[in-house]
């Protein structure tokens, strides 16, 4: 008997048959005595179809208010169909759009932030024994306009609802059965983690492990909502994401997982004057272009100049190189060089805080594999390096071995 918020993504509700299967799982939970609020995405493919229509209609910049009106229909279709499927199984159910709940957001169309959630109607339905079916991804602004939280925002909807309702757990059902020590397609010995902390999950997610939306993890951490990632299609316990359990920290592994991001490119502004304000002078105009910068490294050079290096999304690479090259004179730089054939590789683990020497073990393992490091950047629970993309698989496997993450390992994780 628990109060659960369950979220099913687009693939999990992608066909009539899959919606019916989800309904059966929900009925089982209800029959077991759980109170259930379910949050759903649009059926897979639907959001892309709608975006396609919008682009056909307004080939330039699409009006974001109206795009939100359009996209919100995707989840609205799913809540209706899932509620019908539940009723077909004899299960009481009631659907809510974001506006009907109401999930109040700011007015930033296509990337709105949740400000408050009215729980009254939902709680009254739950008390009456109904399963409540809520459209993810959407809300309503103060002026009554439909808003959306941005792609993947259904995870955020689910976590925010779990926090507002005081649910025992927020369960995110996806097409993978949990969070792994690394990508199993790269390292076959990768192992599903039973538990991981919010902080570790944030680092894993931000590095390209696309199991969960970063904002959803942040939200869960902020409101301390236990978050579980499970498979829609296979039974299993999945991976539980919670706060670090203090009692177990003694035994915890130093490294929980190996993450990587293939989608980065590196840019170096060579020979700029080593003086206060140079970082802002370079990155200010870049962020004005709405381009996000990831790693930033500045190395003291000789003779009063320095090389300033940072990474950006690979799609933005040419644009940024061209832009900074055009500003070369203004920056008094010798040249702008770069490389878009690189990847970022990281080890993540809260155990690093209390264990020295983790970074050097990482560097040694990579050196022994013959991999040269282009950039290094560290945070409290993460060490990232940039390497040539051709060494990605080699590097992942070397680190997975080095930190004994394989299924046969006796390491118990955080």
């Amino acid at each position: 008997m628990a109060f659960l918020v369950k979220k099913y993504g687009g693939t999990s509700v992608g066909t009539v048959e899959r919606i019916q299967r989800v309904a059966e799982q929900l009925k089982q939970a209800r029959d077991d005595g759980d109170d259930v609020v379910v949050v759903v995405s649009a059926m897979s493919g639907e959001t892309n179809r709608l975006v396609g229509l919008a682009k056909d209609i307004q080939p330039g910049a699409v009006d974001v208010r109206e795009l939100d009106v359009l996209l919100a229909t995707g989840e609205q279709v799913t809540i209706a169909l899932l509620s019908m499927a539940l009723k077909a199984l004899g299960c009481e159910a009631r659907s809510y759009t974001g506006g009907q709940v109401k999930i109040l957001t700011d007015g930033a169309h296509s990337k709105a932030r949740i400000e408050s959630i009215d729980t009254e109607n939902i709680m009254s339905d739950i008390r009456a024994g109904s399963i409540v079916v809520v459209a993810g991804f959407q809300g309503v602004s103060a002026d009554g306009s439909i808003t959306t939280l941005g792609r993947g925002g259904s995870d955020t909807s689910a976590v925010a609802l779990a926090a507002a309702l005081g649910a025992d757990e927020c369960q995110i059902f996806t097409d993978v059965d949990g969070v792994y020590t690394t990508d199993p397609r790269v390292e076959s010995k990768a192992r599903r983690l039973e538990k991981i902390t919010f902080e570790e999950m944030l680092e894993m997610a931000s590095l390209g492990s696309k199991v969960l939306q970063i904002r959803a993890v942040e939200f869960a951490g902020k409101y301390n909502v236990p978050l579980r990632v499970l498979s829609t299609f296979e039974p299993g316990e999945g991976t539980l994401i919670t706060y670090d359990d203090e009692e177990n920290t003694m035994e915890q592994a130093q490294v929980s997982g190996i993450a990587f991001n293939r989608n980065e490119a590196q840019i170096t502004v060579v020979g700029v004057a080593d003086q206060p304000g140079i970082a802002y002078k370079i990155l200010g105009p870049v962020s004005d272009l709405n381009i996000e910068v990831d790693m930033i490294v500045q190395n003291k050079g000789m003779g009063g100049t320095t090389d300033f290096t940072f990474t950006v999304d690979r799609n933005d690479y040419s644009k940024v190189v061209a832009f900074l090259t055009s500003k070369k004179e203004e920056l008094s730089a010798d040249s702008v060089v770069g490389n878009d054939k690189i990847v970022k590789l990281s080890i993540v683990g809260v155990g690093m805080r209390s264990h020295a020497g983790i970074a050097s073990r990482m560097f040694r393992a990579l050196a022994e594999a013959g991999i040269n490091l282009v950039l290094i950047s560290t945070s409290e629970i993460k060490v990232s390096v940039v390497i040539d993309e051709k060494y990605l698989e080699l590097g992942v496997r070397a680190l997975h071995d080095e930190f004994e993450l394989a299924a046969s390992s006796t390491n118990e994780l955080s």
Copy 2:
């Protein structure tokens, strides 16, 4: 300069290109100085697609609350796309779902009735120079649930908005260019009417001229909203539907149009006791089956028995015959017979009120064409006969000639 409510049906907004064409027409009206509120249906095919999904999910009786949630997405897609198309033309526009307006209805899902319309937001947008784009067919009940007005309800939405907003005219854009004296596919000499009264339009609509929804015409008549039917695809003045203009009644034609309905079937309960309550005894159980009865004729028979005849939708024919046959003993009837190869043919015109002998002219014209009449039924502005379906075209043309409705005629219509 007028305040217009314009309604475009599913065919008119069936593709991206058609939506763009509608946007151009609306921009033209705005540029001409008109204030414009536009009501749209779902893109053609969309409602059927959604109903198909619902039936796949819940093959028995579909939950009507959730069906409304599902179907309402159809119009929501159109309002978003049309607003985008208007903005792409540099026209200010703002979309509203039924709930956002808000169009308050009763809670009768799938056939809700409008109770009130909040005009504040729409008027403020209109004053600001925007075109307001409203989702037809939908509203919201007092408990915040999405409701729909039933198929074709977008016409009713448009008329109700025009009434609430005090618009000068409600224009219904369709794939035909107006209301005709009869179906041009049956009588090539059929002529578009410039004007027709609400009452005549009601009779024409109820007889199968599917240009307008009956409820919309009733609503327009009740609130005296001038209603105009026009083509989306061809220029023209269409047909204006208004109250009978007293000043012109002297000159008006006796008959405005010839309507027919191919979708009827006739059932006779033979030899029932001619006593009070027999009509209810037969038709009460039929209406309990949710079957609508159209014409009802009872002929005094001989020897204390009577034959009781009525017509139903052809789809309900077998069901009703089987049902009444099973009740034969109870009704003390000799037999139940019927015919589903019949059609109803009618002449309609407010002029009948002041001109005697119209019905007999009709009967004579049909007799001269060799057409036998099975049933006759009359109302104030209509005479209907049931004839063998094979004589339909012959009958329509005979009456069209008899009442001089052809384009070359000098008859000026109401």
